[in-house]
Symmetry: C2
Subunit: 314 residues, 2 copies
């Protein structure tokens, strides 16, 4: 069952009192650099520092009370972890989060600060799906998937709904890996051309669109975009993307760093690498944006101070 615009509207109602209606930022410098009229949806200003609370809260709020009371489990490199942990705290239910041992420290800390139990695993030698399934079975807890769930996609789609209430973009650029956010935005903005942006060398979405099958990334690829390193998309997100995504672009780590510096200097927001990748594609000229109305989703800002300082100093 694919989510619909009605599911997104229902999600918007559910999250209204807990999520931030983030601003669309404007920048003379960004308009000049792209030749477009650009609006940056600043989800770094979202509760928890990234968009993930939208889908996580929508999912958890939709559970039957007795099911919800048993608690939830999630696996995540960080932002979904914070989102699930925050939503769980708001419902006063336990949350167990399985995170890679090399996740940014501030993401692990922020997840724990919301009261969640965090279990770390080795990204290269262990399977988070196996760990998660075992722990979920032991606890009877509900698994909150990071993207391949209609309620999660509908929650992320509220970003598109908010954009549509302010502007009518020709083009939307969205950071993507599992593509839950991109698919939610597609459903909310049916008249826009929505592009996924993924890390260079980690372009499974582009390859999946080309082959019409879900393609995987080989293990061990390194990128500073720590939130965008999933092995592959999901069944539901692929079904939506295949039908409705305008295309997939890539950006290099160096472009992402430049976009983080641009956001620092001209937008005065803190973006984590993954959160800056759609901006990077726009500044790179990966797509001709001249004369268009463009929405860029800046999906998160959870980055360690040391890493950010290193990017600024480069």
């Amino acid at each position: 069952m694919l989510p619909t615009i009605e599911d997104i509207r229902a999600a918007a109602k559910r999250i209204e009192s807990v999520a931030v209606r983030t601003p669309l930022l404007r920048s003379d410098a960004l308009d000049e650099a792209t030749g477009a009229t650009v609006f940056v949806k600043a989800e770094c200003l979202q509760r928890g520092g990234a968009f993930k609370i939208r889908g996580a809260y929508n999912k958890i709020a939709s559970l039957a009370p007795e099911e919800r009371a048993r608690g939830v489990i999630a696996f995540s490199s960080g932002n979904h972890a914070i989102g699930v942990a925050t939503a769980s705290r708001l419902f006063s239910i336990p949350a167990l989060i399985v995170m890679p041992a090399d996740a940014p420290k501030m993401k692990v800390d922020a997840t724990r600060a919301q009261g969640a139990d965090v279990v770390l695993y080795d990204r290269l030698t262990e399977s988070r799906e196996e760990i998660g399934a075992r722990l979920a079975a032991e606890r009877g807890a509900v698994l909150v998937k990071p993207f391949d769930d209609p309620l999660v996609i509908a929650g992320q789609g509220t970003i598109g709904l908010e954009i549509s209430e302010a502007i009518a973009p020709d083009i939307v650029l969205v950071p993507a890996s599992g593509a839950g956010l991109a698919c939610g935005v597609i459903l909310a903005l049916p008249n826009a051309r929505v592009y996924a942006v993924e890390p260079q060398g980690h372009d499974d979405i582009a390859r999946s669109l080309a082959s019409a099958h879900i393609e995987s990334n080989p293990p061990g690829i390194r990128s500073i975009c720590d939130a965008l390193l999933l092995e592959r998309m999901g069944e539901i997100t692929f079904a939506i993307a295949r039908e409705k995504l305008a295309g997939a672009l890539v950006a290099s780590d160096e472009s992402v760093r430049a976009a983080m510096r641009f956001a620092f200097q001209h937008l005065k927001i803190v973006l984590e690498p993954s959160g800056a990748i759609a901006l990077a594609a726009a500044l790179d000229g990966a797509l001709d944006l001249k004369g268009k109305t463009v929405a860029i989703i800046a999906s998160g800002g959870n980055v360690d101070a040391g890493s950010f300082a290193a990017v600024l100093g480069a």
Copy 2:
């Protein structure tokens, strides 16, 4: 003539299409740290990276067309410079800005990027007032004062108006030096207790309130708050502050750095030192905020990348 709430409402209409209605940011961590319900008015997200466009545009828009056509002149350590330069560009009039040679490079660059002529002077050996008066006389240009002008104060007061349309704060904390922003906010929020926050050791506002005269700061005081190092308040701002300011607090450079890091980590915004000083006072516990609804004005985010990286690394 002191400005009134009607002047602020008129200013809000004038700036509506050019200034950003900046968001009020919330943070669980900030509420916890203060025991209050805190809203951060993020003026770093304002056009030009600081609140100053509000007053500058309101002043320039209010000039007679033939007067405005001769161009404007301003002296400023940076943010007022950017505000006047931006407003002048929007009106297609020439702007000449007198800036200290030790102003942050990005502020000088941003002023020039708006098309203004910049004249640098030595803060310790030259008088910017004399330079400004001479140049204004030579050019027949109108001087746009940074704070001691009813139209400038009314423009800055639109921040208070926007706050009042969303919340009814008990307390408002405002970065202050010339106190144009603080006085505008006071007039827009007559039921709130408005406090000025100034750099430690540069506490002329506190001393002026105590002595009931305009006190000066000795020259040569150093602080990382480069935008808050004026010698003294103005006649108009003192008249308002004396009557209506709840008090003046101070924050140390170290507290300001900690507040910049807090804003980076929990709010995901870039604050310059002066823009973080009201947040610093709140985090310091300079005032008991427990149980109160508090608005903190984060007045600007124009800081060099190297300086910001150094603060993050400390």
